[in-house]
Amino acid sequence: MVQLPVWTAIAPTVILALTVLLLLVVDSINPDEDSGNLLAVMAVIGTVTSIAVTGWYLLAGTGQPPTDPVLLFADAIVVDGMSLFFTALVGSVVVLIVLASYDYLADHPYQAEYYSLVMLAATGMSLMASANSLATAFVSLELASLPSFALVASLKHNRGSVEAGLKYFLIGALSSAVFAFGISLVFAAGGSLGFADVAAAAADTSLPGVLGLGILFVAGGFAYKTASVPFHFWAPDAYEGAPSPISAFLSSASKAAGFVLLFRVFVEAFPQTAVAGTIDWVLAFQVLAVVTMTVGNFAAATQENVKRMLAYSSVGHAGYVLIAVAALTTDANRSFVLGSGMAHLLVYGFMNTGAFLFIALTEYWDVGRTFEDFNGLAKQAPFACAAMTVFLFSLAGLPFGGGFLSKFYLLMASVNGGVLLLAVALVVNSALSLYYYSRVVRAMWLEEPDGTLEIQGYPTGLYAAIAVAAVMTVLLLPAFGPVAEMANAAASAIV
């Protein structure tokens, strides 16, 4: 068998980038023609190819134990189990988004730009999963963020969309600055940017205060990207105003990418043993996790707008995932704890994307945005509503989907780390969340429609995306074992 050159390890990301270029080329050949079909198909094919290659690498063991991680470009990029896991996650979400956008954007101008921006952001996200130095981290973060700003504002004649884009951009710019500033302080303290070098230099730095401040600022940058407290307040506005497929994209894929980078930076560049004299970030994340999940859930419980409720619930879920770093105490089984966050992100990728795509479907039908507007929807669209019910109950942590098991895994992780407060906060918040998720279920199935709503057509692409997301959410219940194992194995390589 021919041994592939080493650089091909980064092929999944490269394929995504090539798809962007190809989309632009196709559009430039005939810019005036309405070629939404072709563009969507190309984007799907490109992403599926990327996922297929990722899956092949995962199965073939590329960069995973017992072999060493594949390091490329002067150690700026790493390919290992974790990067492949998250590339596959981002790719899966992108496929769903593109399928749904095909209908959502049916009469929309600038389709080529839309699809290529989605793919460009996806490239950035998969690069974030592979970053092995703070420089790559920053560049890939920007690569993921900049297209996202434009995508949020892509409904140019919708004031909400434009406003959301502006808000997202301003806070994004601010937090990028914070992030960059943090990196510069870390560099000042240690004189290096590669994760391993930062860790090595941190242990005997003469500037522990500067390093500690740098770590704090870097954490702030991640809080923005993952929509965690205290940089979460852009999320409800941006998710609400953005086209729903983009809300799904940001709240699932973008959040996951932010988390993988967070995991890697804190575990590899700032291990507790090395930065012991500066800042106890485990404690900081414990506070952040509890506050984030509580703020997200309480805010979600008071919303009248379904999409905004989902946006706040997304903040709440960021809090759950933060358990994966907050429970990373010294006597914890570290790969187990870190794996819990990864597994939850994967399950969340499907159930949350599905929920937002259902919102996209209701926008397609002009149903309206409040809970009352959803009244009696199940009478007209029972299948879509059944899928939405699965998503919501899975998000709440009832045993109707993988969300139950991934939350259970997080619970085990918090106990494993010995942080019982996290476990209690997780359980209490999950119990609370059932209240507001079930409000949607109640509106769809129990309330009577007011009679004026007439559903126009059943868009194939959107339905297909929702069906795939629902099937995956349910399948992740019996098939959670292999996923958890894969996450565990991937995490064990970096801790």
Partner: protein, 508 residues
């Protein structure tokens, strides 16, 4: 053997087949398909070869163990099987579901295929609850009961159905989480000696004194905390006073067939779990707390009966009297005598049949008269002789007429609790509980006299005639079962005794 899997699988497939069937055939199709699990459970009963208690190393019947996956050092297994406690409840579930499906033909006339599909999904979850022996699996089914029930109450219920449905869901879900935390305190307390969430393994570990300290909490305190958390969680399900407030709402708003399953089977989930977890796994804590628990049981008996006395709505009368009857179960369980625990388990079956019968009878009268208010009708016996006849017989069963199952169950409970050496002041508490019977007899006789007898009058415009055969047939079947169990309690009581006895031998 794969009988349990077959039962669950067939019912699950049936549920989806019914959901996609046209509304017109859904009722008949669901009833027909529900005969398969019914036949299966009866086959299991006929060929039952287990012995001993499932949690204490007894010989399980129809057992399978397959590893599902592993998380954090704990294997999650598909572990199912039945012993002499769970098999009668399994049979009760399949019988009541089929009869409830038949009794739905008349009142349910909207979105039928969804209704019958959800009823079958409910049956799947209930079968799972009574057969699962791995905690994780058991919890999946336990929570799985909530969702079909939520929709069944919320979509097909009475005027305040949405309030009742959400109250049921939130109340019982919070209870589940409290119980969940309690059990996991034990699991983590057992530490490395436990490699799976197998309920028998946890029970034997806890009883074998392998519990260690957790986060600085000593084993004894840990056990007490876990006991209280689990007791609170299950007490909501049973329900015992003062956790009962969801029950009247859910019952009154639920359509009749759903009430039948709710009272007949769902409440037994609570007492079954109490028996398995609190009174088996943590038996020594239960012995220490015998007085307060018995007091709660007696309080439920008396207070439930008093509440029933104050109702005008026949369905509320039956609903509150359920609280009273479940109080006997709690009293019997905590007695820790062979007849107390056995009688309590037998009372679960007996009350399942009798309360199902009562709810169905009220439902049949309501189908015809469109009212359940005691003051609004009288003399129904003139128009619906068969229904009323069975209703009266059921009421006597409730009061504990000899040769009916209620008598056998209550006598056993009283003998058991009277003899109890665990409960302080056992004789006084038993005497107080017996007083509940008098109140029950009082309110049932009063209500029947007002509504069923006397000269016929009805304050609505409906023309009341005889109920259709398929409405009365389930009543007749249930009455036959009640009398059969009253005459020959050993049909179930023998295997119950066999499963309960190891609990009283002390130690594993």
């Amino acid at each position: 053997m794969v009988l349990v899997e077959g039962l669950i699988g067939v019912t699950l497939v049936s549920a989806f087949a019914v959901i996609f069937a046209p509304d017109r055939y859904a009722g008949k199709l669901a009833t027909g398909l529900s005969l398969i699990p019914l036949a299966g459970s009866l086959f299991m009963y006929a060929n039952f070869a287990g012995s001993g208690n499932a949690l204490l190393g007894g010989d399980l019947a129809y057992e399978t163990t397959v590893t599902w996956f592993e998380v954090g050092g704990y294997g999650l297994n598909w572990h199912v099987g039945v012993d002499g406690i769970s098999l009668p409840l399994l049979v009760l579930t399949t019988i009541l579901t089929t009869l409830a499906l038949v009794s739905s033909w008349t009142p349910i006339d909207d979105r039928e295929s969804q209704f019958y599909g959800l009823m079958l999904l409910l049956e799947v979850a209930l079968i799972g609850v009574f057969t699962a022996l791995d905690f994780f699996l058991w919890f999946v089914f336990w929570e799985g009961v909530l969702i079909p029930m939520y929709f069944l109450i919320g979509v097909w219920g009475g005027p305040r159905r949405k309030y009742a449905a959400i109250k049921f869901l939130v109340y019982t879900n919070v209870a589940s989480l409290i119980m969940f935390i309690g059990l996991f305190a034990l699991v983590f307390g057992l530490g490395d000696s436990l490699t799976s969430l197998d309920i028998p393994a946890i029970a034997q570990g806890v009883r074998g004194g392998e519990l260690g300290a957790l986060a600085g909490v000593q084993p004894e305190t840990l056990k007490l905390g876990a006991f209280l958390a689990m007791f609170a969680g299950f007490a909501v399900k049973v329900p015992v006073v003062p956790f009962h407030t969801w029950l009247p709402d859910a019952h009154v708003e639920a359509p009749t067939p759903v009430s039948v399953v709710l009272a007949g089977v769902l409440l037994k989930m609570g007492t079954y779990a109490l028996l398995r977890f609190n009174f088996t796994m943590l038996a020594d804590v239960a012995r220490d707390l015998a007085l307060p628990i018995a007091a709660i049981g007696v309080l439920s008996v008396i207070y439930g009966a008093m509440l029933a006395l104050a109702q005008r709505d026949l369905k509320r009368v039956v609903a509150y009297s359920s609280i009273s009857s479940m109080g006997y179960v709690v009293l019997g369980l905590v007695a820790f005598t062979p007849h107390g625990m056995g009688g309590a388990t037998f009372q679960m079956i007996s009350h399942g049949l009798i309360s199902g019968l009562m709810f169905m009878a009220v439902g049949v009268i309501y189908n015809a008269s469109h009212t359940r208010m005691v003051g609004d009708m009288s003399g129904m016996a003139d128009r619906m002789p068969w229904t009323v006849g069975i209703f009266v017989a059921a009421a006597f069963g409730y009061m504990g007429l000899p040769l009916m199952s209620g008598f056998a169950a209550e006598v056993l409970v009283f003998i058991g609790s009277f003899q109890s050496t665990v409960i302080p002041f056992a004789t006084v508490l038993t005497a107080l509980a017996m007083f509940g019977i008098v109140v029950v007899a009082g309110y049932l006789l009063w209500a029947m006299q007002r509504t069923l007898f006397g000269s016929y009058s009805l304050e609505t415009d409906y023309e009341v005639g005889r109920a259709p055969v398929h409405d009365v047939a389930p009543l007749a079947v249930l009455l036959v079962l009640v009398i059969t169990l009253g005459v020959a309690p050993d049909l179930f009581y023998a295997m119950i005794q066999d499963a309960v006895d190891p609990l009283l031998g002390g130690g594993v």
